[in-house]
Amino acid sequence: MALLSISEPGQGKSQAHAADNKVVKKSAIGIDLGTTNSLVAIASEGRAHALCDHDGQCLVPSVVHYAEDGKVTVGYEAWLKGAKDSSNTISSVKRLMGRGKEDIHYDLPYEIVSADNGGMPVIKTAAGSKSPVEVSAEILKTLVRRGEEELGGELEGAVITVPAYFDESQRQATKDAAQLAGIKVLRLLGEPTAAAIAYGLDRKQEETVMIYDLGGGTFDVSLMRLEQGVFKVLATGGDAALGGDDLDRTIIQWVLNEAGITDELSYAQLNSLASIARHAKHELTHSEQTQVTFEQWSGTLTREQFNTLIDVLVEQTIKACRRVLRDAKITVDEISDVVMVGGSTRTPRVRERVSEFFGAEVHTEIDPDKVVAVGAALQADVLAGNKYGDDILLLDVIPLSLGIETMGGLMEKIIPRNTTIPVARAQQFTTYKDGQTAMSLHVLQGERELVSDCRSLAMFELKGIPPMVAGAAVVEVTFQVDADGLMEVQAKELSTGTVSSVVIKPSYGLEDKDIEKMIMDSYSSAASDKEARALQESRVEAERIIEALVSALVVDGQSLLSEAEYARLEEGILQLQKTIESGDSDAIHEASEALNEATLEFAGRRMNTQIKTALAGHSIEEID
């Protein structure tokens, strides 16, 4: 753009430049990509809040619906469609991330097919096969859009949370989804770590805290040690099939018993009963009793009755806490803080029992649905370069050991669990046969000794080893784990100086070219997305041209332009302003170009005057 390139010596910067140079706050968002619900939050000056839609809904159900015409719906709308079109409505996709088909031991309402390469399963939908990474990317796009709308324009990036126990493949899959959604990941952050950050526990010197996360369908408990900014997950536990939905189910069962209903209920009846139960549960968080009405039957449920109904479930969660403490060899009195996460921790009985059991401070001040996203946003703000207060650095550890298969089907650990990341470790291996020219390496993750009990991350072959007697060739295998817990493995043959190296990504992750293809696909299928983006970009471009031209006219318009020329440019501005309203990105782009073109002569004259002004004060010798 001709006009923007002009600077004005002697007078400081032009207005257009001054606007460009003012300290702009870097925008970054925190995303809680949950199994049941997802959430986006932003932070500023050490404070964060969740972003909500026009109806005040902050939670985005982690549900994606694919229509036959390729239209993708996300969130509450998709959830509504699920009632009628369950086979094309994907929920709980987080459970499939970075997993193989053999990992799925439960029923899903949609059809799953194995990928050819033994990678992640693929979900069959009316709009074609979708990988869990693609589905997650749709959820992320929705959240990112919400963030962009709030902050206005491009984002610096996002911090996305993952469960503490997520292994390398699950983390990689999450990062791939972000790439596909077009958002830069500033950091993958453990969910319990995020919750602790939200409460500022990272600023304390030494602490042992328990994060109790009872969500819609999952229960996670994580014991963490915070030591001067280093977060270590000491142990995790929980129940992947226990959550708020189970609490609702106890009420459903109670209604059926009380009302004496024994007949099979229709889908619609079950649905309405489920929402009645949910409503009753919510009522009982602040009332001592509530009236429950289902069709002709009506009855009163007291909080005490409800407590009795759910006690078995609550005890299960306490048991899981006990197990985690035992795993980490920590006694309950060593816990200084308990952080409550997940909507179901609003249930008074849950809070009561947790605080009885731990006898420590139980944090519920921050909305338990939002606390993880809030922590992520705080961290995102710091990572984007917006400093506030003292600068805390978060150091994470790898949750599971990484190693390699050795003779006899044994796993040899190269990086033990709980090692602070980033970390690089090298290990040397030799050939075991004379003349051996290749070596195959099997990369594993897990704590068990037998390869069969560990998760296989990747297998690759190092070729081109020069033939030598057994044991003479030395292969150095280097594991590099980055700050997000993602790994790269390199193998080098050292003995002869010939170096061959292989960089691999785990097999459940996607190859870069796969991701590229998916990004291309998503562009073609989501033409409307692309159009919206193009429109936004063309508007920004047009506004910039107008702004620059106006400020140039103010400074030099009178002195450098004839009246007619001045009027023509003014007319051009008006024209472009009208076109901006039209909503046609191509037209806006063309009009911008035209106006820009029309200013070239003016820009040239300004340049000349400025050079003259700049030279005026100097002698010829100086310029030479």
Binding site: D327, L395, I421, P422, Q480, D482, A483
Partner: protein
């Protein structure tokens, strides 16, 4: 002095010695981490980020090495030009070999008897052996008696491993 060339002690501005000021290590580690961590350069170009990744990996490795007395001992030997992992039959202490076998037998029979108290007692006595040897290592190393220091290091390797095995056996008996 660039980060890559520095030895681990210099990296943390610590004297090259087996005696280590723990707080000084912690403070220096945190300072380096906050300076070089990849989180500080998330928006920089690829080269800078890869460099940060390598530098922090190295800092982490240095920290782990110096923090553990056993690893620190091996590292000091390496700096003195002695390969701590090379096992030379001539330098093996015969008395210690016999002691090793006895300790292994004791452990095996305690595990067989599921004798938790016995395991605890054994742990205590081996802990004492460890403390003595760490002090001996320091004395020999400071006196530049590297061959002797190495022999003590090899005994310490065995002792650390044995302590680990006792821990595992206890865990198993307690059914964690």
């Amino acid at each position: 002095m660039s980060l890559q060339q520095a030895n681990y002690f210099e990296l943390f501005s610590l004297p090259i010695s087996f005696q280590l000021e723990n707080t000084q290590l912690e403070v220096a580690y945190k300072k380096l981490q906050s300076e070089f961590h990849p989180d500080r350069v998330v928006n920089a170009d690829d080269r800078t980020r890869v460099q940060a990744l390598q530098q922090t990996s190295m800092i982490n490795d240095a920290y782990v090495t110096l923090k553990s007395p056993l690893k620190r001992a091996a590292y000091l030997l390496k700096l003195a030009g002695v390969d701590a992992e090379e096992h030379n039959q001539l330098h093996l202490d015969e008395a210690f070999l016999i002691q090793q076998m006895e300790m292994r037998e004791t452990l095996a029979s305690l595990i067989g008897d599921e004798d938790l108290e016995g395991l605890d007692a054994m742990k205590d006595s081996i802990d004492k052996e460890k403390t003595t040897r760490l002090a001996n290592f320091e004395a020999q190393f400071t006196a530049s008696q590297f061959v002797k220091a190495k022999s003590i290091y090899n005994q310490l390797q065995f002792i650390y491993k044995l302590l680990d095995e006792i821990d595992k056996a206890e865990e198993k008996l307690l059914d964690y």
